[in-house]
C-alpha cells in the first residue's frame, strides 16, 4: 500500500503547490490545479427543475452530461450575464465532474505551502466560508478555495458544524 501511495505522489509532484487563479468581481481566487480537468467556453445550459439557484443546470461536454455551478451565485453575489471572458472550469471532486462558472480565468501559478496562511475565522458568510487558505504572492493576496466545500451541500455543512460545536 505504502509503495502505491508513493508512486501516486511522484506523479502528482509536478502539480503540487500549483493553483489556477480566476477572477470574480475583481477579486482573485484560486483552486488547487489537481482538481481541474479543463477550461471551456460558455456552453448552452439545460435547466433542470428542483435545483438550487447556484446550480444552473447541465451541459453536454462531448457526450458527457455534467452539472454547472455559478460561483457568483454560490458566493451570494449578483448574477451577471455571461460575456466572452466567462469560462466554465471543469473540476473533478471525488469522481464528480462539475463545471464551475467564473467571470474570467487568470493564470496558473505556484504558491508554496509556506506562503499560505490559515483563513481568518471572522466571517461565515459570502465567499469566506469556502476559503481554506490565503496565499501571498509578493503584494498580492489570493484566496484559496476549498473545492470540496464549494461543491458540497450547505445544509450538510451547517449540520456538521453545529455538531462539531456541540462536541466542543
Amino acid at each position: 500500500m505504502a509503495q502505491v501511495l508513493e508512486n501516486i505522489t511522484d506523479v502528482e509532484d509536478s502539480l503540487k503547490e500549483k493553483y489556477l487563479t480566476f477572477i470574480i468581481d475583481d477579486q482573485s481566487y484560486c483552486i488547487d490545479i489537481r482538481y481541474v480537468i479543463e477550461i471551456i467556453v460558455v456552453q448552452p445550459i439545460t435547466q433542470v427543475p428542483e435545483l438550487p439557484e447556484y446550480l444552473k443546470g447541465i451541459i453536454n461536454l462531448r457526450g458527457k452530461v455534467i452539472p454547472v455551478l455559478d460561483v457568483r451565485l454560490r458566493f451570494g453575489k449578483e448574477e451577471r450575464p455571461y460575456d466572452d471572458k466567462t469560462c466554465f472550469v471543469v473540476v473533478d471532486v471525488n469522481g464528480n465532474s462539475v463545471g464551475i462558472i467564473v467571470d474570467q480565468v487568470d493564470e496558473v501559478m505556484r504558491i508554496p505551502d509556506a506562503d499560505i496562511a490559515a483563513p481568518p475565522s471572522f466571517s461565515k458568510n459570502g465567499s469566506s466560508r469556502y476559503v481554506k487558505g490565503i496565499g501571498k504572492i509578493g503584494e498580492d493576496v489570493k484566496l484559496i478555495l476549498d473545492c470540496q466545500k464549494l461543491l458540497s451541500d450547505d445544509e450538510m455543512d451547517e449540520l456538521s458544524a453545529i455538531t462539531e460545536n456541540m462536541e466542543k
Binding site: P44, T46, Q47, V48, P49, E50, L51, P52, L55, I58, I59, N60, G63, V65, I66, P67, G95, N96, S97, V98, L151, D153
Partner: protein, 709 residues
C-alpha cells in the same frame, strides 16, 4: 491476511465467474435429482466434474478451505458412483451437498472482503466424511475401493472403464459394464495396430443383406485405417446375401480411434441382430457380445447413454468456443459509443448547413448510414440481452429451502425462462423476485391442513412466468394460496395511521398497493423469512429503479398474482420531443396515449377554479410543464399549446407543452450523480439525452411527475 494468492489477482474475476456458474449448475442438478428422487449416472458424473473443477481452480487461487470442501464432496461422489446400487437413498446427500455449495458460494462471495475471516470447513468436512463412511460401510462386502484421491485428475468416463476393467468378475449381469470392458480392451491393442475381426448377423428376413452389409462398410470406411470383408463383392453379387445370412458377414479392420467407435457404428446400424468379435487385435480376446437379444438391447442403451455423455461433453465444449465472457463495462462503453454514433449521425444528416439544399446523393448515402447504424444498435442491444432463466432457476433453490423450513409442500413452475432482458435489469431482478417468492410461500400459501380443508391440492403452487410484450417484459409471480383480504389490510392500515380517506373510498387496487408500503406487514409474527414489512417495499424500489412497475391482483381463496412490468432495455427509448419555452423535453412514447389541441368548451373548472380537460366524457387534470419545471414560456394558456394525454397504470393526466417536435429514438443518459441529492427524479425527470444538435433534453418520468403535481 489475504484469502487468496495475490499474484493471481488478475484471475480472480474469472475464477469467481466460473465458480458461480458451476455452482448454479450444481444446484440445478441437485434440485432436478431431488425432485425425481433418483440420481442418474450422468448427474453424478457432472457433479463430480464440477467439484473437480472448483477444487482445481480454488487450489490454484490458494483458497484452501474451498478446495478442501470441494475435494471431500468429490470423494463422496466418487464413492457414490462406485456404489450406485448400494446408495439408493440420496436424501441426506442432497442436504450435505447443498451445504457444501452454500459454503463455497459464501466463501467466494467474501473472498475480496478482508475483514471477514475465512470460514472453517471442519464441521462440514466431518459431515461429508460421515456420509462417506456410511456409504462405504453399507457396501464394504462388495469390494475394496481404490483410493479416491489418485483418480481425481482423470476424465470421468474413462475412469469408469478402468474401474470396471479392474474387476471383470463383477460384471456378469450389468450390460453397461460389459460395454465398458469392451471399451477397455481395444485400448490395449491400439498401439499394436493389429486387425480386429468381427462377425455380423443381420436380422432374420430383412432382405438384401449384401446391400446392408455394403452400407455398413461404407459407414465404417471413414473410421478405419484398413478395412477388408468377406464375402467380398457384396455390391455386385446378389448371391452373397445368402452367404451372409448363413455364415454372417465378416469384417476385419484396423481403426483410427479405437475399436469402440467401430462397435458403436455397428450397434447403431439398422437391421443388425448381433455381432461377435472373433479376434480382437493382438490380444485375441474373444468376447461374445449380446448372445441374447435382450442383453444386446440393454447394452445398446447403455452404450448410447455413455455416448450421450460423450457427445454432451463434446457439445458443451464446442458451444464454449462460440461464447466468450465480456466485461460488462466494455459493453456499456460500446453501448455509449453507439449512442454517440446515433447522435452524431443525426447531427450530420440534420445539419443546419444543409437546409434547403437539394442533395440527392447525400440523402441516399445518409439513408444507407441510418440503416447501418440502426442495425449496429440492434446488435449491441442484443448482446446485452440475457435470458431470465438464470434468475428464475435460482428461485428453485429458495422454494426448496423454504418449503422444508415452513413445512409446506410447494411446487414451483417456471414459464418463459428464455425471455431476454437487458443485463442491468436482470441484476436488479433477483432480489425482488426472491422477496415475492418468499412472500407467496410464507403469506400467500396456506398450511397444508388448511389447503385440504378448503378442498385444494395439498401441494401449493407458485408460478413464475415471463413474457415479452411490446417493449416490455412482464413477469408474474402467482400463487394459488389464500389471496389478499382487503378488509384485513384496511384494518391494519387504519391501525398504522396510513389511511387518509374513508374505507369505502379506497379501490381494491389502492388497498393492494398498501402492502408495498414500508413497514407494512399483515403477518402478526416476524418469521425468519418475512413479516418485518421491509421486503415488499424493497422489491418495489428495486423494480422502480430500473424503470419498472409492480401491481397486484388477488382473489380471496384463489390466490395472488404480482405483476412486474419492466422495460426491455434502459438504454434507448422511443421518445416524443416537445418544446417548452427554450427547452426541449422528451416524453417516453410508452406513456403517451394521444396528443391534440383542445376547444374552449372542453375546459371544465372545478369549485377551486382548477382547470380540467374533458375528453370523450372523461375529465383529466392538467399539468403545465412550464410550471412544473419552472421554465419561462409565452404559451401559458391550455388553448394555445398542445395537450399530451399521458398515463401510468392507474392515472392519466394532460400535459401542456408549447409544441410537438417529433418522435425520436433517444439514448438515455443518467443525470450526473452530483445532482442525486436534489429531488430532481422525484420531480419527474428520469434522465436526459443528447439531441442531434448537441443540446440536452430532459426525459420525463411521467409517474413521478403525476405523483408530485
Amino acid at each position: 491476511m489475504d484469502k487468496f494468492d495475490m499474484s493471481l489477482e488478475s484471475m480472480l474475476e474469472t475464477f469467481i465467474f466460473e465458480s458461480n456458474t458451476l455452482l448454479e449448475q450444481l444446484d440445478a442438478i441437485l434440485l432436478k435429482s431431488e425432485k425425481s428422487n433418483d440420481m442418474e449416472q450422468e448427474d453424478i458424473n457432472e457433479i463430480f466434474r464440477i467439484m473437480h473443477t472448483i477444487k482445481g481452480s480454488a487450489a490454484m487461487m490458494g483458497i484452501e478451505n474451498v478446495s478442501t470442501v470441494a475435494h471431500r464432496i468429490e470423494d463422496l461422489f466418487f464413492i457414490i458412483r462406485e456404489n450406485k446400487s448400494a446408495t439408493a437413498d440420496y436424501s441426506s446427500i442432497y442436504d450435505i451437498v447443498f451445504q457444501g455449495s452454500d459454503f463455497i458460494k459464501s466463501e467466494i462471495e467474501s473472498i475480496q472482503d478482508e475483514t471477514t475471516k475465512a470460514a472453517d470447513p471442519e464441521e462440514l468436512i466431518g459431515r461429508i466424511q460421515e456420509e462417506i463412511d456410511f456409504i462405504k460401510g453399507g457396501t464394504a462386502q462388495k469390494k475394496a475401493k481404490p483410493a479416491a484421491k489418485q483418480k481425481a485428475n482423470k476424465p470421468v468416463v474413462k475412469e469408469e472403464t478402468e474401474a470396471a476393467g479392474q474387476e471383470p468378475t463383477v460384471v456378469e449381469d450389468s450390460a453397461a459394464e460389459q460395454t465398458a470392458v469392451a471399451e477397455e480392451l481395444p485400448e490395449k491393442e491400439d498401439n499394436g495396430k493389429a486387425e480386429t475381426v468381427v462377425r455380423v448377423f443381420f436380422e432374420d428376413g430383412c432382405k438384401m443383406e449384401n446391400i446392408r452389409a455394403f452400407m455398413l462398410i461404407n459407414n465404417m470406411k471413414d473410421y478405419c485405417e484398413k478395412l477388408t470383408y468377406e464375402p467380398q463383392d457384396i455390391e455386385t453379387d446378389q448371391n452373397t446375401a445368402k452367404q451372409i445370412v448363413e455364415s454372417g458377414f465378416i469384417i476385419s479392420f484396423v481403426p483410427f480411434n479405437g475399436n469402440d467407435e467401430i462397435y458403436k457404428i455397428i450397434e447403431t446400424s439398422l437391421y443388425i441382430k448381433s455381432y461377435e468379435v472373433l479376434s480382437d487385435g493382438a490380444a485375441v480376446v474373444e468376447e461374445t457380445k449380446a448372445a441374447a437379444a435382450a442383453q444386446q438391447e440393454t447394452a445398446e442403451k447403455q452404450a448410447a447413454a455413455i455416448e450421450n455423455v460423450n457427445t454432451a461433453v463434446q457439445q458443451s465444449k464446442s458451444v464454449k468456443q462460440n461464447l466468450i465472457s465480456v466485461n460488462l463495462n466494455k459493453l456499456d462503453e460500446l453501448m455509449d459509443l453507439v449512442g454517440e454514433l446515433v447522435i452524431t449521425e443525426s447531427m450530420v444528416i440534420a445539419n443546419p448547413d444543409l437546409k434547403g439544399m437539394q442533395l440527392e446523393n447525400f440523402t441516399k448515402a445518409s439513408r444507407q448510414l441510418r440503416k447501418l447504424t440502426d442495425e449496429l444498435q440492434d446488435i449491441v442491444m442484443s448482446i446485452r440481452m440475457v435470458p431470465v432463466s438464470g434468475v428464475f432457476n435460482k428461485m428453485n433453490r429458495i422454494v426448496r429451502d423454504m418449503s422444508k423450513k415452513l413445512n409446506k409442500e410447494v411446487e414451483l413452475e417456471l414459464i418463459g425462462e428464455d425471455t431476454e432482458v437487458d443485463k442491468t435489469i436482470i441484476d436488479s431482478l433477483g432480489d425482488p423476485l426472491m422477496h415475492l417468492i418468499r412472500n407467496a410461500m410464507d403469506h400467500g400459501l396456506e398450511v397444508t391442513e388448511d389447503r385440504i380443508k378448503k378442498g385444494k391440492s395439498p401441494v401449493g403452487k407458485v408460478i413464475l412466468s415471463a413474457e415479452n410484450t411490446a417493449g416490455e417484459v412482464v413477469i408474474r409471480v402467482s400463487d394459488d394460496g389464500a389471496g389478499i383480504n382487503p378488509s384485513k389490510i384496511l384494518k391494519k392500515a387504519r391501525a398504522n395511521g396510513l389511511l387518509t380517506k374513508n374505507d369505502a373510498d379506497y379501490t381494491e387496487k389502492e388497498i393492494y398497493n398498501m402492502i408495498m408500503l414500508p413497514g407494512f406487514s399483515t403477518n402478526t409474527e416476524v418469521t425468519e423469512f418475512s413479516g418485518r414489512g421491509v421486503g415488499m417495499d424493497v422489491a418495489r424500489k428495486n423494480i422502480e429503479k430500473v424503470g419498472g412497475s409492480i401491481s397486484i391482483e388477488s382473489k380471496l381463496d384463489k390466490g395472488t398474482t404480482f405483476i412486474i412490468k419492466i422495460p426491455l432495455t434502459l438504454a434507448i427509448v422511443d421518445g416524443m420531443e416537445v418544446s417548452v419555452g427554450g427547452s426541449i423535453l422528451t416524453i417516453p412514447i410508452t406513456s403517451i396515449r394521444e396528443s391534440f389541441k383542445i376547444q374552449p368548451k372542453q375546459i371544465v373548472k372545478d369549485v377551486n377554479g382548477t382547470e380540467m380537460i374533458m375528453i370523450r366524457g372523461e375529465c383529466y387534470p392538467v399539468i403545465r410543464i412550464f410550471e412544473a419545471f419552472g421554465i419561462d414560456t409565452k404559451i401559458t394558456n391550455v388553448l394555445d399549446g398542445i395537450i399530451i394525454l399521458v398515463e401510468t397504470e392507474d392515472k392519466a393526466v394532460c400535459l401542456l407543452a408549447d409544441q410537438l417536435i417529433g418522435e425520436q429514438q433517444v439514448v438515455v443518459k443518467p443525470l450526473p450523480n452530483y445532482l442525486n441529492r436534489f429531488n430532481v427524479k422525484e420531480r419527474g425527470v428520469a434522465g436526459c439525452t443528447i439531441l442531434g444538435d448537441g443540446s440536452i433534453s430532459l426525459i420525463l418520468d411521467i409517474k413521478n411527475l403525476i405523483a408530485n403535481n
